[in-house]
């Protein structure tokens, strides 16, 4: 039985990839992930905005009260300050790339055109196998039309892809008017893969204090259906490797992803919730199911149920919703 798959030109031993999570910050965890059986690891993101904000904050803190008072020219010792920037992140990527036996995929979250390109080039120098670009933005300005935002995204993809020889996958938002069209543009701009989808952080409201509060929740299997549908719709129509992320918790989730056309399924929340042991369990389920259903390779499974391979492609479209309604008996 061949579990191997090819994602972004990388030969992977199986389709289960660990996606960006706090676990990847520690090298020891990377070793444990590798040992547990994932075929590749997407590292936690390098957030350009975060680096910038960190620098600005450090600047504010070190400047507070500086050179204002005769008895103290400063209030925080700055001589042990580690320069703000991507250096420690890049060093971590380098160590991961050299010490871990499975492909390491870097992840980049940027905000400015120059920043993306600059960081993409620096990431390539670390020896990672690929780059995942995270188009993460909440376009809240009512004066900016979708076309402008999408054009901006495409510019970024094009600039990054032309500035690095690494294969680039783009993680996109599900909140697009025309996701299929946008996906095609992304691929035309040079991306080799699409990661479906970005899970936006959704703030919560504290009813006691009437304050907006951060509330990060892990995904669950139900969330799989959204990327599953779009994988089925895009697979075979857009010339890119598709990765499903958000909702891959079980072997069944992974199998469904493959059937819809994904080259890999990315799993994080389940590992965070249940530990590294869930990885072999998922892979074992994949093997078991393939054996039961006479699949000899993952490649054979891949796309077996994408929209143009199912009898009724509209099953993935609006009709699906109507059918559900119709079957509801009250």
């Amino acid at each position: 039985m061949n579990l191997g798959t090819n994602y972004l030109g990388l030969e992977l031993k199986n389709p289960l990839v660990h996606s960006a999570s706090p676990l990847t910050k520690k090298l020891s965890n990377l070793h444990r992930l590798e040992k547990a059986g994932v075929s590749a690891i997407v590292m936690h993101s390098l957030f350009e905005e975060q680096i910038e904000e960190e620098g600005m904050m450090l600047d504010r803190i070190l400047s507070e009260g500086a050179d204002s008072f005769g008895e103290a020219s400063s209030f925080i010792p700055d001589y042990n300050v580690v320069p703000v920037g991507a250096d420690d992140h890049l060093a971590h990527l380098s160590r991961a790339a050299s010490e871990i036996g499975i492909p390491i995929i870097a992840s980049l979250n940027g905000s400015s055109l120059g920043g993306w390109v600059d960081y993409a080039a620096r990431i390539e120098a670390t020896g990672v196998a690929a780059l995942e670009l995270n188009l993460y933005n909440v376009p809240s300005d009512p004066d900016v039309p979708a076309s402008e935002i999408e054009a901006g995204y495409i510019d970024v993809v094009r600039a990054v892809c032309s500035s690095t020889s690494l294969p680039v996958a783009v993680k996109i938002s599900p909140f697009l008017t025309a996701p299929a069209h946008f996906a095609r543009q992304v691929v035309s701009a040079g991306a080799k893969g699409l990661v479906l989808f970005n899970r936006f952080y959704q703030p919560d409201i504290d009813l006691e204090t009437l304050e907006v509060v951060p509330n990060l929740k892990l995904s669950h299997s139900d969330e799989l259906r959204l990327p599953l549908r779009w994988t089925a719709l895009l697979s075979g129509r857009i010339p890119a490797d598709i990765a499903v992320t958000g909702g891959v918790h079980t072997g069944d989730d992974l199998i469904k992803s493959m059937l819809c056309g994904a080259k890999v399924g990315m799993m994080t929340s389940a590992v965070l919730a249940h530990g590294f042991d869930c990885i072999p369990t998922v892979l074992e389920r994949l093997r078991h199911w393939m054996a039961e259903n006479d699949y000899s390779s993952v490649e054979e499974m891949c796309g077996a149920m994408r929209s143009d391979h199912v009898g009724d492609p509209s099953a993935y479209e609006r009709a699906n919703y109507m059918k559900v309604l119709g079957s509801y008996s009250g």
Partner: protein, 1179 residues
């Protein structure tokens, strides 16, 4: 051999040598020497090695006394050891100095010489500290400029080893320690070459060792001590020649020749000034000028003051001298003359023969300016037939008439030198930019450069004035610029307050930051400024630097923008080169803060030149107004005559008679100084307000007040005065107003953070919100005036109204007795002091340890501790840093003594007063504020009844009668005092059982000197002197105090529980015995967003870092556990608290594994501590 040229200050120059020539360095912060200790700590953190290839041990001690002991021990065991100190710190070392010298132990201590506190503390420079050590047997070598700070440091370190006599290497605090100059830096090979290996080996061979033991520190008897004491003579006798020998060796290696006494001036001088320190530079510069005019004058600079070598001195003095003026930068009341004067007189007397006329004088105390005009006045005095002896120069002594008059217009500065003055705010980065500019010019060109910076004493809204000189010749002018070719005014509002352009030379260039356009600015300029522009022929340039700062994300910092304009206008460098060098400097300064910060500064540079415009103005003045009065017309005379002059930067002009002779100043003068430093201020929304008082209680500057009053008292209120129905069940039918003193507010926003009331339809709108100050200033000024006239509310009033005074809601109504201090914006300490003052300020004595609270509490020009309508209020005093607990105990002892005295004496007055009054006076319980008021009324009766009494002890009675009313003593200070330098005394005072209240405002660092580590600093926190994270846990002061059993102990954090805080203060004050309150005080040294200070306090408690508890010994007698734990178990991981503070985050970045280990250990400590306290509380 070419050496590196650097631009640095005297402290850095001295530390450069001291570090490399030492193995063990013990340090303790004290201004102005702290930067030397910080430099060594920094070198050590970088792993920089000494000349023996090792990284010296740099260890912080608990006090300067501790430092001296540690250095003594290090020396005795064979290490090369050094330290740095000043002022009171040096005085604390004196006992060990005798020992170290008596044991003939080589070492060098570097002293940024500073005034010793007398009638007042002063952080500024004079020689009173080193002069207090001249009898200890230490050699004393004085540097007079930055280059010498390095060179004579070197010579000291070399000479001490050969002489076996310890050296003090001194230079003028601030004037030299903080002046930036370009100088040639010694390299490590130079330093190694100067240190004699044989002498080092000999020192090591003398070390104590159990391998070849000896006994030191014996006690001796009359049969031996005297002879043994004289046995050291030949070592001291040899010092001058050894020092001169090292000076000669230094010259051989480096090229700069020094002598024990350096004479400069006319070879046939008839009039000579003898002086040491930076004053020698001014004197020499002036003498040269006068010599060129044909005057036979000269200056003898004393470098080696101890041992005073009469032979070398006489050799250096021109034979032609007829009259000598000896200048001392110290004052010794009661002596025949000051120390140097006495040495000179004795030396010449011992020489015998015809004697020149010798006069002595004092100058420059506490960094008082010493200018060429003053030097000329001294030379002129020497020409007189009967010159004044024991004179002063630089002040107007209109009481004892010691002062020499001098011509303020006399100037000698070279036309080749460019002088620039910058008026800025501390917060706008002006000083930092100017330090950079000096480095750019000094290191990027062949010009010499000098920079000196004057700060005011406030920690918020402080003003800075930067004095810069550049020129082709070395700059020998250690005094402020008073005629500048370039004047920059970084705040337009300064033009209304200060005579900024008075300093502009004719034809000077003026750069003004203003949002007025070049076309409209003229009419906005005060008449006096217009006149100066016209009459002096000045060129005016204007830039809206704040606009550019906003556009380039620089916030309030306009430093880079104004610096760019300076280089553009001053023409010191070609514009393009200047821009390139500014950008290089930006990269160097801000590189660690990330590309975005660097780019932001680059953007500011690039945007500046296009926005810089020259203003064309008419040749006639079009406005006739003058400077705004700095204090209101109805201020007391002292405020108008003295304080206002200080505020106008005219303190220099005040005569001796303007000042109290004993350092006693009036209270409550901050209220007359309307600083208007906040861009935004809180505005009350009366419809939303729940009148909880939280905003009032947390306000660090006492600018938000609440009052309840009768509705009819609103009559005559200004139109915009706000009022609401008072929400007190106990006070129905009354009105309530919350008023902000917008002109005194610093804009910290803590009040908004604390406000719990939100608009239900728009939760972003609270009952108090920030709004722009300028548009509401006038109206709110009127509102504040009206508000202050509404009746005040005392604790007795509260009792009468049956208020419980348990929560901020009630507390807000009480009059605070500290207001509008110069504490930092968002200060975490002052709310505690204010609360204490509200509860018992009218009967309180305050002993205040030196530190932040003594500076914002008592630094001129204005004083924040104030009085009420009865004239009562806290009696405040600062003694020292180390003795504050004892100082407060002394106050309590007096109160006890005088109270007993008064109680005994009053009994003798039964005939005059009546038995019942006497008995009431003696039996009054005074447990409540009402009862205290009643007792005060009885005392008033005593005064009335005794007015006509002929009782022989009447006057005696009246001097003590007020002690029949209850008094409270509060001993206040920070953790540097309580945990470190003053702990011994604090412990003793707690042990004494005396009825005192100790308030420790714990910022967990030495905040006043810039955030050095104390024993209150938590494990893993980065602070100065523990830049790699504090390795040990914070001292558990509360537990130590509780161990006595009879001490009331409370730990509070207002941001977590204001009610628990209030309760603790009330209980502490009411406890008839020692009480101690440990109060969590957030601070800018924590590296936090100060606007979130209260939230951070809460997080400190929720994470278990800071427990809330009260230990009340009174409960024991009621059969209760004295300890009450007032906080829940830690429910937030300590990491969440650490993550919000850069003092922890920095280590997480620089050394993540170490930081993780500290965090893990700290979390365990937190868990264990809570469990321990819980166990104790449940016993």
């Amino acid at each position: 051999m070419s050496r590196k040229l650097v631009a640095a200050d005297g402290n850095e120059a001295a530390a450069h040598v001291a570090y490399r020539a030492s193995e063990v360095i013990a340090i303790y912060p004290i201004t102005p020497s702290t930067p030397m200790a910080e430099s060594c700590d920094q070198y050590s953190a970088f792993g920089l090695k000494n000349i023996w290839g090792e990284v010296p041990q740099v260890t912080q001690m608990q006090s300067e006394g501790g430092v001296a002991g540690a250095v003594h021990g290090a020396l005795q065991t064979g290490a090369m050891s050094t330290t740095f100190t000043a002022s009171q710190g040096l005085l604390l070392m004196i006992p060990n100095m005798y020992k170290i010298a008596g044991e003939l132990t080589p070492c060098v201590w570097h002293i940024a010489a500073r005034s010793v506190a007398t009638h007042a503390l002063s952080i500024f420079g004079d020689h009173s500290d080193v002069m207090a050590c001249r009898q200890t047997g230490w050699a004393q070598l004085f540097s007079s400029k930055v280059q010498e700070c390095q060179d004579l440091a070197m010579i000291s370190h070399a000479a001490t080893l050969k002489a076996r006599v310890p050296f003090l290497h001194a230079f003028d605090g601030f004037r030299t320690s903080h002046e930036i100059q370009k100088y040639e830096q010694l390299d490590d090979e130079d330093i190694a070459w100067m240190i004699d290996d044989d002498a080092v080996e000999a020192h090591r061979a003398r070390a104590m060792t159990p391998d070849a033991p000896s006994v030191r520190g014996t006690a001796q008897n009359p049969d031996t001590f005297f002879q043994a004491r004289e046995a050291c003579n030949r070592y001291h006798d040899a010092v001058p020649d050894i020092v001169q020998g090292e000076m000669d060796r230094f010259a051989e290696r480096v090229g700069r020749q020094y002598h024990l006494f350096d004479y400069e001036g006319a070879p046939d001088a008839e009039r000579v000034i003898i002086v040491m320190g930076s004053g020698a530079e001014t004197s020499t510069e002036t003498a040269k000028f006068l010599q060129e005019k044909g005057e036979k004058v000269g200056v003898l600079t004393v470098r080696l003051f101890r041992p005073f070598s009469v032979g070398h001195f006489l050799d250096a003095l021109p034979d032609t001298v007829k009259s000598i003026a000896v200048l001392d930068r110290t004052k010794e009341p009661g002596s025949v003359g000051e120390p140097l004067y006495q040495d000179v007189v004795t030396s010449l007397s011992e020489r015998g023969g015809p004697q020149p006329l010798i006069i002595g004088g004092r100058y420059g105390l506490s960094s008082k300016e010493f200018t060429p005009a003053m030097v000329k006045a001294v030379f002129d005095e020497l020409s007189k037939d009967e010159p004044k002896n024991h004179f002063t120069v630089g002040i107007n002594d209109d009481i004892t008439h010691t002062s020499l008059t001098y011509d303020r217009e006399f100037r000698i500065e070279s036309p080749d030198t460019t002088r620039a003055v910058f008026w800025g705010l501390g917060a706008d980065g002006t000083v930092g930019a100017n330090k950079n500019s000096i480095k750019i010019i000094a290191l990027g060109t062949d010009l010499h450069a000098q920079g000196y910076f004057v700060y005011d004493s406030r920690k918020s809204g402080s003003q800075t004035v930067s004095h810069l000189r550049f020129g082709k010749s070395p700059i020998q002018s250690p005094y402020l610029v008073d005629q500048a070719e370039f004047v920059a005014v970084h705040q337009f509002s300064f033009l209304d307050k200060y005579d900024c352009l008075g300093i502009a030379a004719d034809g000077a260039t003026v750069l003004l930051n203003s949002n007025y356009s070049p076309d409209s600015i003229w009419e906005q300029l005060p008449g006096r400024v217009q006149e100066q522009l016209v009459t002096k022929g000045l060129r005016l340039f204007v830039i809206d630097a704040y606009k550019i700062a906003r556009e380039t994300r620089m916030g309030g910092r306009i430093n880079t923008i104004m610096q760019t304009c300076f280089f553009q206008l001053a023409g010191v460098l070609p514009a393009e080169e200047a821009i390139r060098m500014i950008k290089e400097a930006i990269k160097k300064t801000y590189g660690k803060r990330g590309e975005a910060v660097v780019q932001m500064n680059y953007d500011a540079v690039d945007a500046s030149l296009a926005a810089l415009h020259e203003v064309r103005f008419p040749d006639v003045v079009t406005r006739k107004d003058t400077l705004l009065p700095l204090v209101p017309g109805d201020a007391p005379d002292f405020v108008k005559d003295v304080t206002a002059r200080l505020l106008a930067n005219e303190g220099e002009l005040l005569p001796v008679s303007a000042f109290p002779p004993d350092g006693v100043f009036p209270c409550g003068t901050t209220r007359y100084e309307k600083r208007n430093i906040a861009q935004e201020v809180p505005v009350w929304e009366e419809d939303l307000c729940i009148q909880c008082g939280k905003c009032v209680v947390v306000c660090p500057h006492g600018v938000i007040r609440g009052k309840v009053y009768e509705p009819d008292q609103l009559e005559g209120a200004p139109e915009t005065f706000k009022s609401a129905d008072a929400k007190w069940r106990e006070m129905p039918g009354k009105r309530f107003s919350l008023q902000v003193a917008v002109e005194d507010c610093t804009g910290c926003t803590l009040c908004v953070e604390a406000c719990p009331a939100k608009d239900r339809s728009n939760v972003g709108r609270k009952a108090i919100n920030m709004a722009e100050q300028l548009p509401i200033r006038e109206k709110e000024r009127d509102n504040w005036d009206f508000f202050t006239k509404l009746p005040d509310f005392s604790p007795a009033d509260a009792e009468a109204a049956e208020l419980k005074l348990k929560a901020p809601k009630d507390i807000q109504l009480l009059t605070p007795y500290i207001e509008f201090s110069g504490a930092c914006t968002g200060c975490g300490e002052t709310p505690y002091l204010k609360l204490m003052s509200q509860l018992c300020g009218d009967r309180t004595y305050i002993a205040n340890a030196t530190g932040c609270s003594s500076i914002y509490g008592g630094n001129l020009p204005t004083t924040p501790w104030c009085t009420d309508k009865n004239g009562r209020g806290p009696a405040w005093s600062n003694s020292l840093f180390e003795d504050n607990a004892e100082f407060g105990l002394g106050m309590r002892l007096t109160i006890e003594q005088k109270t007993t005295y008064a109680r005994n004496l009053i009994r003798e007055f039964a005939a005059d007063l009546g038995d019942s009054l006497v008995s009431e006076l003696l039996e009054a319980s005074q447990e409540t504020s009402t009862a205290i008021e009643e007792q005060r009324a009885r005392i008033a009766q005593v005064r009335t009844k005794l007015a006509g009494s002929s009782h022989p002890r009447r006057s005696e009675m009246l001097t003590v009668v007020d002690f029949l009313a209850r008094k409270s003593v509060w001993i206040c200070g920070g953790d540097g005092w309580a945990y470190d330098i003053g702990y011994g005394g604090l412990d003793h005072v707690m042990a004494s059982g005396a009825n005192v209240n100790i308030l420790v405002m714990d910022t967990e660092v030495y905040s006043n000197t810039g955030g050095q580590s104390s024993k209150a600093t938590p494990l893993g926190a980065v602070a100065k002197f523990t830049a790699d994270g504090k390795k040990t846990v914070k001292k558990n002061m509360g537990l130590l105090a509780m161990d006595y059993g009879h001490v009331y102990v409370a730990q509070v954090a207002m941001g977590s529980s204001d009610m628990q805080t209030v309760k603790a203060f009330q209980e502490a004050e009411s406890y008839n015995g020692p009480s101690i309150i440990l109060a969590y005080s957030h601070c800018i040294a924590h590296g936090i967003d100060i606007t979130k200070g209260l939230t951070q306090q809460d997080l400190a408690v929720k994470s278990g870092h800071w427990l809330l508890y009260r230990y009340d010994p009174r409960r024991t007698s009621e059969g209760l556990n004295p300890l009450q734990l007032d906080c829940r178990p830690p429910k937030v991981p300590l990491k969440d608290y650490h993550d919000k503070e850069n003092r922890y985050r920095m280590l997480m970045k620089s050394s993540p594994e170490t930081a993780q280990a500290y965090l893990k250990q700290a979390q365990e400590v937190v868990n264990q501590r809570y469990a321990h306290f819980k166990q104790l509380a449940e016993l």
